[in-house]
Amino acid sequence: MRRRRVRAWIVMALLATGWPGRADAYIHLGISNGPNSTPIKWTAVPVRWFVNDGSAPGVSASQLQSELAQAFATWEAVPTAAIAFQFVGFTSAMPSEDDGLSVLGFQSAPEMDRVLGATSFTVDTSSGSILESDVFFNSIFLWSVSATGDSGRFDLRSVATHEIGHFLGLGHSALGETEMRPEGGRRVLGSGAVMFPISLGRGVVADRVLQPDDIAGASDLYPDGDFKTTTGIITGHVRLNGAAVKGAHVVAFNPRTGVLIGNFSGSDGTFRIGGLVAGPYVLRVEPLDDADIDSFFDAADVNVNFQVTFHDKLVVAPAGGASASIDVAVRAK
């Protein structure tokens, strides 16, 4: 068994993740094995988790545990995903320790002044099995456990729900729109996923609730029941002047339900969007320009020099299968 420590971040406004693996296999985190990518996931369930017994200003360890339990329950409640968690107890072990325990807790990281929280893993790099995952919440920020939010504090459960998405093995979603702040950093205009890498901001509790993109990602990684036979996949290539486009954000939009689910094209321009309710979809391809690219990819060759493009045909996601490969030609800016 080859063990490796890897890390993913959630950021407040500007910074992005440093994810050393590949993110081009759906929105799952993956381990690069030569040219291939192996999604990482838990294989032993229920996943046992501990809470560090430290506190942060205004939030006790027991309040932290309560918020985490509700965030875990949110992911457990996805009807099309089979994942279960078990709270074991409080511990003095820190989230950053490679000790075989999956620990979540507060930790002060003043050097990460734009990082609200981070998730790290120990994985079996041959199989992709997650052996341990730790989550820390940066205690340099003020946190809230208020049911309706506190305008001066970040909602702990919202950020926990995001980090637990990483804990499951999900990467960041690019389903969101941002604008640059005059003082630097980005402001989120809209977010289509809890797994969008930038927080909606202080006082906002909206990300306690999963969106279709999150549900599709979790279900695709931990499929339950008839999920695989009742949902479909859209696959294809993104090309610019005939050349593969890496890092294009491809979104499938269901025009009957309004559901949006996205993914990225890989280094060869291919993309795969799974977990789609069977039906025809609109495909929208956009450059990855609403968050720092390294929120999603570790490579610098992501192409963002093309226009937002709609594929000219509705693309059908068949139940239990995949579409024929779709070629989407984008135009340069």
Partner: protein
């Protein structure tokens, strides 16, 4: 993909298309004859062509969650089935001079069209399409209003229900649904006789209002149709 020069106007939630049919009945000097369809106990077989009106399927925004609690619109979409020719075959059986039961199989190839507009990052609107194969099997009752016959035309009313089967992307997806319809029209006899294998022939024009729903959404949709049919009675 085509970029439209201007944004579409608002499409009403329910569109009822009123179609007119250019239908010429061939008068063959049997104005006073009994129409074949009103001969009780006779089987009738017909074939027709017509026009299936468009139908609004959905008007859905692509909305994102915003910090304020309201939504941020990524783009707007409007989806419709575009009007298309329809071809059908029918079989009927006259129970009495007034009442007839009728079954129909129709083949259509409508375009499913989504127009995307008001994109947050792209100007103009975009038309995105798919051609689907649609098969409709329905049946109902036809009530011939013989007492209202005028200038050789016998009006009728009809109603019934049926099954819709749509094939997307060369059958990679089968969409099933059901429909109900009401309508009416006129029948004109071409000839009628009391002996022989073929007992008569007639032509007919009808207008229908269909209400359909399928498994891909929970909504009911209105769609008009018009057709002309050539009928032979045996």
């Amino acid at each position: 993909m085509s970029e439209r020069a201007s944004n579409r106007g608002h499409v009403p939630a329910v569109r009822v298309c009123v179609l007119s049919v250019a239908f010429v009945a061939i008068a063959v000097g049997v104005g006073g004859a009994q129409t074949p369809s009103t001969l009780p106990g006779r089987l009738r077989v017909g074939a027709g062509v017509g026009w299936l009106a468009g139908a609004e399927i959905a008007a859905q925004p692509a909305d994102l969650r915003s910090a304020s609690g309201s939504s941020y619109r990524l783009f707007q979409s409007e989806t419709e089935l575009v009007a298309t020719p329809t071809f059908d075959a029918r079989i009927g059986f006259a129970l009495t001079r007034r009442y007839e039961v009728e079954g129909r199989a129709a083949i259509n190839r409508p375009e499913l069209r989504t127009v995307v507009s008001s994109d947050a990052e792209a100007t103009g609107s975009f038309t995105i399409t798919e051609n689907i194969d649609e098969y409709v099997f329905d049946g109902g009752i036809v009530v011939h209003l013989n007492e209202l016959k005028a200038i050789g035309l016998v009006p009728f009313a009809m109603g019934g229900a049926g099954y819709i089967r749509r094939l997307h992307d060369r059958q990679s997806l089968v969409e099933e649904g059901h429909l109900y319809y009401v309508g009416g029209g006129v029948t004109r006899a071409l000839f009628a006789r009391s002996q022989g294998f073929v007992r008569g022939a007639s032509v007919r024009a009808d207008l229908r209002l269909n209400v359909f729903s399928t498994e891909l959404d929970d909504d009911s949709h209105l769609q008009g149709s018009a057709s002309g049919v050539f009928i032979v009675a045996f």
